[in-house]
């Protein structure tokens, strides 16, 4: 049996057009590799799309590549992730399934208030696949608590469990702040646990849980991930042998300038030196400048000149990160922008507890869900009245009205 395990594709992610294109190309390259490797099936462990109502371009790419897989007789098994899940069930994942391009394996029945998942059996290999989607704020954890596991664990044959959640026991130290669920919530004794959501490349073998695998995102999702991972990746399972396949589209050149106790002029000189060096041809140049300037302001640093020089020398793209660049003149302005989600999370937590109608944890989760529902955009061709009605229904459903 040979299969590919992808996760966190985030089609439609990245606002920057070149990065969005690289993200799309990474997905295309991975699918093409799956076809050339003649895998028996492909797993996508959540977040194929960056939202539950993706853009036209993202949809076009998604449908096109999944159709190529279908034409090559390679079935796709997936679960929705925290980005492309919708409690209403009206997502593009369902349309993919309706179109016969993928199978959502998070299927089951509610039995006596408990959740009984069903297996989807791959016709060619007989492999039995089931799983649980991811939800924003880790809300899927409640589903796991109510999961009937006996029949899943007792099922004979080769089994795969797909999940889209961080596991506490596997979290690396740098992700300590991330909410995670204990591995004891997963059913035991599956041959392979196909994870998603955590953007790390990881393969762990735990007692009762052999082969818990996070393939990493198919393309890095932010500046820090580009620095750390440099490229996207997925996993190939070939009769028990696991390999991490990297999808390299452009070389990464990292430029780090320590600005601590330096003047803006010193930093400009350092940037000139780096911009003039070789090796940026077709590369994504990641410029990180950090530290407290002894003289001058960040605006005195000529980032434009650096970018122009790099571009003129053939760089594909120049990205800069100055989150930790501070000036004595502007010391009071500190914007810690790790990611949009982090900022949202921080702000919600800061303001939680003011209503006193729900426990803080539930209030935070509700706030996140409300933000998600209320940020939905009008679909193409959807009438304003229908759009308003849809939003109103989603909000009512969320609030239990």
């Amino acid at each position: 049996m040979k299969f590919a395990h992808l996760a966190d594709v985030h089609l439609g992610g990245w606002r920057e057009p070149k990065l969005r294109e690289l993200n799309t190309r990474s997905f295309c390259a991975a699918i093409e590799r799956c076809i050339s490797e003649s895998v028996d099936f492909v797993l996508i462990a959540g977040d194929l799309f960056n939202t539950s109502s993706p853009s036209f371009d993202a949809l076009k790419t998604g449908f096109q590549k999944l159709r190529e897989l279908r034409d090559a007789h390679i079935p796709v098994y997936l679960i929705p992730g925290s980005h492309d899940f919708s409690p209403s069930g009206k997502t593009m994942i369902d349309i993919l399934e309706e179109a016969g391009l993928a199978v959502n394996v998070a299927k089951g029945d509610v039995v006596d208030g408990k959740l009984k998942l069903r297996f989807t059996v791959d016709a060619k290999t007989g492999c039995k696949i089931t799983g649980m989607f991811g939800r924003k704020g880790g809300l899927e954890k409640h589903y796991y608590y109510e999961l009937i596991k006996d029949h899943l664990e007792a099922e004979p044959g080769t089994k795969i469990f797909m999940f889209h959640s961080p596991i506490a026991e596997l979290k690396p130290a740098e992700l300590a702040g991330m909410d995670a669920m204990p591995i004891s919530l997963l059913p035991q004794g599956f041959d392979y646990y196909a994870g998603g959501h955590v953007h790390v490349v990881q393969h762990e073998q735990l007692k009762e849980y052999p082969n818990v695998v996070y393939p990493g995102p198919l393309f890095p999702n932010n500046f820090s991930e580009l620095e750390k991972l440099e490229c996207g990746s997925f996993v190939l399972w070939d009769n028990g042998k696991i390999t991490h396949e990297r999808v390299r589209l452009a070389p990464i050149v990292k430029v780090h300038v320590a600005a601590q106790n330096k003047s803006a002029a010193d930093v400009n000189a350092a940037l000139d030196k780096h911009a003039g060096s070789n090796g940026v041809q077709n590369a994504i140049v990641l410029l990180r400048v950090e530290g407290l300037l002894s003289q001058g302001k960040p605006s005195d640093i000529n980032f434009t000149a650096f970018a122009e020089t790099c571009t003129s020398r053939g760089a594909h793209l120049v990205l800069r990160n100055t989150n930790k660049l501070e000036s004595k003149e502007l010391e009071e302005i500190k914007v810690n922008t790790a990611s949009v989600e982090d900022i949202e999370e921080t702000l919600i937590k800061e303001h939680a507890g003011q209503l006193k109608i729900l426990p803080a944890e539930q209030e935070i989760a509700l706030a996140k869900e409300l933000m998600r529902v209320l940020s939905a955009e009008k679909d193409e061709g959807e009438r304003v009245a229908d759009f308003e009605k849809r939003i109103s229904q989603d909000v009512n459903k969320l609030l239990g009205l």
Partner: protein, 508 residues
């Protein structure tokens, strides 16, 4: 309108020791609460002793009993109720005026009638605080009054809580009850080192049954974890030399060697110490050998040419975020339970020491905004193991530090013991709330009475007579030493209903 039955009449006595004649047919109990209605307000009284009273002289009483015993002569008294009776010694607790209590400073009138206390008399006790810590229902003798008693949890937990009681008197039920009710609150995070693996409820009722357990309880166990529990693994690179203070009886050179290893090798200092890698400072080989053996023993780690082999919860690979996860859970007002039932004593203390040290240090260094932060309380069973006089004479540890200065940083101890006399007086005095269950040994009662927030000098007999689940709370944050009855934990669990769950998004 409430109807009150007179239970007795004040006869004589003095402030704090008033003599009451019991009305025939009524029964006064040790610890019973009574009310004397006076023009100044209601005076709340409590029985602390019971004696016989008679209009007959002692010699006559002895003669009459002899006649009954030896001659089988019937004992018939004319107007018996007038001649033989019970006298109760009672003390004034507080005066209640307009529903508010103040310190009692007056005596009720002589011959004033006394009656049972009613829930309406003591409503001021059941006022729910902004940070409520439920400890039980008001008790009058052995009768339970429908008045829930709440402490101000922020104050009580940060100013340390001591739970004292002989085995079988209800310490465990009380702790279950306290933990259960704090799960619904967001003012405190509790770290529970659980040597009997009883609080989570792996096999029976426990905190896992609380409706908020999924969000508010993090349970770590080295054994096969039930669904929802975390496998306990701590990465040895997360450990610091300071975590081992008070865990092992280090000599000064050994302690210096720990720090020397850390200074040179930083995160991998334990690895270096166990492999016998060189350090500066001219330490003797013997010293380094002892350090290595003690670390190996405490961490259940062995070493050979292939490297370190981990046999317990301390690991070279897994558990990189465990300490941070626990700290974040506590700072988010969650309850962290660590199953230490398979730990050695040293490992259990090390586990507590790691978390306690990190919580206190972060708050001291200003990493946590103490004003906004929840109170963190560390629950220690068999507290003299870390707070005992003998232990502390060998050297300080983090728990003694917290007992003395933790309150400034909203870090407190919840110490459980049946032997409070082993804890130094200054630490006992720092524990401003004490929940006293039945204590049979006189030296232990004395230790607790001498360090109580209220004068319990007259209550020794009452304390020894406390039945299972009956307790007296003495606290700087209560107007008087309050008798309570702790409800059976099974009833507490039954009273809560689990919310129905929806499974939106699951495809049929």
């Amino acid at each position: 309108m409430e109807f009150f039955v007179t239970k007795g009449l004040i006869v004589s006595g003095e402030f704090g020791n008033i003599l009451v004649r019991e009305k025939q047919g009524k029964t006064l109990e040790l610890g019973e609460l009574l009310i004397a209605d006076t023009p100044q307000g209601k005076i709340l009284l409590q029985v602390f002793d019971l004696v016989y009273g008679s209009q007959l002289a002692q010699q006559q009483l002895e003669l009459l009993s002899g006649l009954k015993l030896e001659e089988n002569v019937g004992l018939q008294f004319f107007d018996e109720a007038m001649r033989n009776y019970i006298l109760a010694r009672v003390k004034n607790l507080v005066t209640i005026n307009d529903g508010k209590s103040r310190v009692a400073k007056t005596l009720p009138q002589c011959f004033a009638e006394i009656r049972d206390v009613a829930a309406s008399d003591v409503q001021f006790l059941s006022e729910k605080k902004s940070a409520p810590l439920f400890v039980g229902n008001l008790r009058s003798g052995s009768k339970v009054i429908d008045v829930p008693i709440y402490l101000d949890g922020r104050l009580a937990l940060s100013h340390h809580l001591l739970i004292v009681g002989t085995t079988g008197r209800g310490k465990s039920v009380l702790m279950h009850t306290l933990l259960w009710h704090t799960l619904a609150e967001d003012y405190c995070g509790l770290l529970v080192l659980d040597p009997h693996d009883e609080y989570y409820g792996r096999t029976g009722n426990g905190l896992k049954d609380h409706p908020a357990a999924r969000e508010r309880v993090a349970y770590y166990t080295p054994k096969q974890p039930p669904a929802g529990a975390h496998t306990l693994k701590i990465n040895i690179e997360q450990l610091m030399p300071g975590h081992f203070l008070g865990v092992v009886d280090w000599s000064p050179p050994q302690r210096q060697a720990l720090h020397a290893y850390h200074q040179r090798y930083e995160a991998r200092w334990i690895d270096a110490a166990l492999r016998g890698e060189p350090i500066d400072g001219g330490f003797k080989e013997d010293t380094l050998g002892v350090v290595k053996r003690q670390l190996m023993h405490t961490l259940s780690v062995s070493v050979d040419n292939a490297g370190l082999h981990c046999h317990g919860i301390f690991d070279t690979q897994a558990g990189q975020s465990t300490i941070e996860d626990m700290l974040r859970a506590l700072e988010s007002a969650k309850t962290v339970i660590i199953d230490t039932s398979e730990f050695s004593g040293a490992q259990e203390i090390l586990m507590g020491s790691i978390i306690a040290t990190e919580i206190l240090e972060r708050r001291k260094r200003g990493h946590t905004d103490v004003k906004q932060a929840p109170v963190v309380s560390i629950v220690l069973e068999e507290a003299p193991r870390v707070l005992g006089k003998e232990i502390l004479e060998r050297g300080p540890n983090i728990f003694a530090t917290i007992a003395r200065e933790g309150r400034k940083f909203k870090v407190g101890l919840t110490a459980i013991t049946q032997l409070p006399s082993l804890i130094p007086r200054d630490i006992l005095a720092n524990m401003n709330t004490k929940i006293i269950l039945g204590v049979e040994l006189k030296p232990e009662r004395q230790a607790i009475i001498e360090s109580a927030a209220q004068d319990l000098s007259a209550d020794e007999r009452t304390i020894s007579a406390l039945d299972k689940g009956e307790a007296i709370i003495t606290s700087n944050f209560l107007p008087f030493a309050t008798p309570v009855k702790i409800p059976a934990f099974e009833e507490t669990v039954k009273a809560f209903t689990k919310p129905a769950r929806s499974f939106a998004g699951i495809s049929p």
